[in-house]
């Protein structure tokens, strides 16, 4: 059972809510001991997929093998072996930090003799010692999130499912949070984390980009960046707004994004001389600007792959 190299293998996983295809025919291979990211905008099916994988939702079609357990069907066997962190804080606001941990330990039938030690360990590891007697509702977003993670990992789950865990916390808390995730991955925990932050996606060992229920790309961040199929051109313009309008008029240009005074232009690789295309566009629009090639970022990858689905929809 433990022999498979993948913690999660999903085949053709779909979930429809009425006419809405929240997730369509998703294939997924999540290697053990890695941090696997789900990158996608709101409504792309990240939460629905995570909920199907832990047995909260029944797939309309398809199956998944999670830690050797069949989904749908045997989700009950899976519960003691996974940890799940909901998007919204879901612990008990009217219990203290320590009481919440105590409750979770009892729910998971954590061995009584080791219980106290484990809770102390978690309080220290997740920097909650000063708050241990505080009611969870009165804590800051970052503290709540540390408590939620501590509760999710208390029973040493083999697989951790995190649904947009950092959407409500500040950048410093996010950094600390990721440090914790890497520590967990190092001890062999497989982590599936959904996010809509590019910088977080970049930290994952592997990731899948979801767009309106469809997996549009997957691989390591480096692989994805290497295979955008786009020329990336950066434009420094005095009037970036006018420049954007001028560049966007060219049919070869797939996308233009303004980043402050700069523009990031994506042109499919099939067009030769992309720099000339942009320069020409600027000249026609009578806008001054410096044009140069750039290396793709994950955001470029994201723009490129989600654009393909828009083309497909048409």
């Amino acid at each position: 059972m433990v022999s498979s190299e993948f913690a999660i293998e999903a085949r053709g996983l779909s979930k429809h809510f009425g006419d809405l295809r929240a997730v369509s025919k998703l294939d997924l291979n999540v290697p053990r001991g890695q941090i696997y990211g789900f990158l996608g905008p709101n409504g792309s099916g990240k939460s629905t997929t995570i909920r199907m994988l832990c047995g909260l939702l029944t797939p309309t079609e398809g199956t998944a093998d999670v830690l050797g357990t069949k989904i749908p069907g045997d989700a009950k066997l899976l519960k003691p072996r996974i940890g799940y962190m909901t998007q919204k804080f879901s612990l008990f606001g009217d219990l203290t930090v320590r009481e919440n941990l105590q409750f979770i330990a009892e729910i998971y039938s954590f061995p009584t003799r080791e219980r106290k030690g484990r809770i102390e360990e978690l309080l220290v590891n997740y920097d909650l010692v000063p708050q241990q007697k505080q009611l969870a509702d009165t804590m800051s977003g970052g503290q709540k999130q540390r408590l939620a993670l501590a509760c999710a990992v208390l029973h040493h789950p083999e697989l951790l499912l995190l649904d947009e865990p950092t959407s409500a916390v500040d950048p410093q808390s996010r950094r600390d949070f990721w440090a914790n995730l890497f520590r967990l991955a190092k001890t062999g925990t497989t982590i599936l984390v959904s996010t809509h932050y590019m910088d977080e996606a970049e930290r994952c060992h592997r990731l899948a980009i979801l767009d309106r229920g469809i997996k549009v790309a997957d691989g390591t961040p480096q692989q994805l960046q290497a295979a955008t199929g786009m020329h990336i051109i950066e434009v420094m313009a005095d009037d970036p707004y006018a420049a954007q309008i001028a560049v966007d008029e060219r049919p070869e240009v797939a996308s233009v994004t303004q980043l402050g005074v700069r523009l990031r232009v994506l042109i499919p690789e099939r067009h030769a001389q992309p720099l000339d295309i942009v320069r020409d566009a600027l000249a026609r629009g009578n806008v001054a600007g410096e044009v140069q090639s750039a290396t793709p970022t994950l955001e470029d990858v994201f723009v490129a792959v989600t654009m393909k689905t828009e083309d497909r929809d048409r």
């Binding site: 909920r51 832990c54 047995g55 909260l56 939702l57 029944t58 009950k76 519960k79 003691p80 996974i82 799940y84 909901t86 919204k88 804080f89 879901s90 612990l91 008990f92 606001g93 979770i104 729910i107 998971y108 039938s109």
Partner: protein
């Protein structure tokens, strides 16, 4: 003008939101219809058709004539006959009848002599309304066709009020109030307790743990059973201390009946929690069950006085059966085994409703 436009915006928004909240919108029509039916039909102080059994030991022409007079009065509904006064007392104690009519063997002679009461009317006097109906029976005519001696008539019918000779209202109200208070708190506590966890997202966390639906439900209601028993003790204590309400029967019986009733209401609360999404909806639903439980359970108005349709609704409510049990045990000294149908109804109700609730409560989100 600006203020008017802002006011307009708020009004429009409110109407839009209201029209989208189907349940609240339903209350707009549901509440008046429901209330007018309940109050209109249930509130009836002009009680008729009280359940009555007659023990006619005389069996003479005159006594039969009296019985048929009783029948046409419509104050009583004669549901059967008995032989002895003891039988009537037993039926009264079990709560099967409100009035027992005893016609002694020497009825004809008593009527003729006019020195002793010729008819004894045994009344469950714990309910003052029933007692006043019984008092109306005094004006029933009894006489040989030839000699209607009207002036001495009252001596011929003797009313014997049982269980509440001082005719004090609290004696009747407190045992019923126990049912109403317990049902209100038990049902509301459980319904809201689970819906609150759903609202706060706790439920999504809980159903992802190894906890089973049964463990979750039983665990949630157990503390409330203790609270319910505590409430029972408070009401009983205060009833005795302040209003001198007797507990003539067995306290153990009372607690056994109370436990069954608490379980029935917790099951109902769980069912409500599976049918509602917000605490507000859960409260509304509770009130929907609470009102008929107050009005149609025999708590406020004698059960016999209600129209048949209202009686059917009343029979379905656990509160009706519990109030019969508490009045029986506390006032009429009836042992629980004499009132088994009411007790078994509570048990059956709990089992059925709990099963429905457990089936509806799924460990999934879809």
């Amino acid at each position: 003008m600006k203020s008017l436009s802002r006011l307009n915006a708020i009004i429009k928004k409110e109407i839009l939101q209201l029209s989208r909240d189907r349940r609240t919108f339903g209350m707009v029509f549901g509440v008046p219809i429901f209330q007018i039916l309940l109050f209109g039909y249930a509130i009836n102080t002009d009680v008729r058709n009280l359940k009555t059994v007659i023990a006619n030991q005389a069996g003479t022409h005159l006594s039969e004539q009296f019985v048929s007079e009783l029948r046409v009065s419509q104050l009583v509904a004669i549901t059967g006959t008995a032989e002895t006064a003891e039988e009537l007392e037993t039926l009264l104690r079990r709560g099967e009848i409100s009035i027992g009519v005893l016609i002694p063997a020497d009825f004809d002679r008593r009527v003729a002599d006019r020195n002793r009461a010729a008819v004894h009317i045994l009344v469950d006097g714990s309910d003052p309304t029933i007692l006043s109906v019984a008092n109306q029976l005094r004006s029933m005519p009894i006489a040989f066709d030839s000699a209607p001696a009207r002036d001495q008539r009252q001596e011929l019918i003797e009313i014997r009020p049982y269980y509440n000779p001082e005719r004090r209202t609290p004696v009747n109200i407190v045992p019923g109030l126990m049912g109403v208070i317990l049902m209100m708190t038990m049902m509301m506590f459980t319904a809201v307790a689970i819906v609150r966890e759903r609202e706060r997202g706790n439920l999504e966390l809980l159903i992802n743990t190894p906890v089973s639906s049964a463990e979750l439900m039983i665990g949630k209601v157990t503390p409330y059973i203790a609270i319910g028993l505590l409430q029972l003790a408070i009401i009983l204590g205060l009833g005795q201390l302040l209003f001198n309400v007797p507990i003539r029967g067995s306290v153990v019986d009372l607690y056994v009946a109370g436990s069954a009733f608490i379980a029935a209401n917790l099951a109902l609360g769980l069912l409500i929690s599976t049918a509602t999404r917000t605490q507000f909806q859960a409260m509304q639903m509770t009130i929907f069950i609470l009102l008929p439980s107050i009005l149609l359970s025999g708590f406020m108005f004698p059960f016999d006085g209600m129209p048949v349709a209202a009686q059917y609704i009343g029979e379905a409510l656990p509160t009706t059966h519990f109030i019969r049990l508490t009045r029986g045990i506390m006032l009429r000294e009836a042992p629980l085994f004499e009132m088994m149908p009411d007790f078994l109804y509570l048990i059956g109700f709990t089992v059925v409703v709990m099963s429905i609730a457990a089936t509806r409560f799924s460990k999934k989100l879809d």
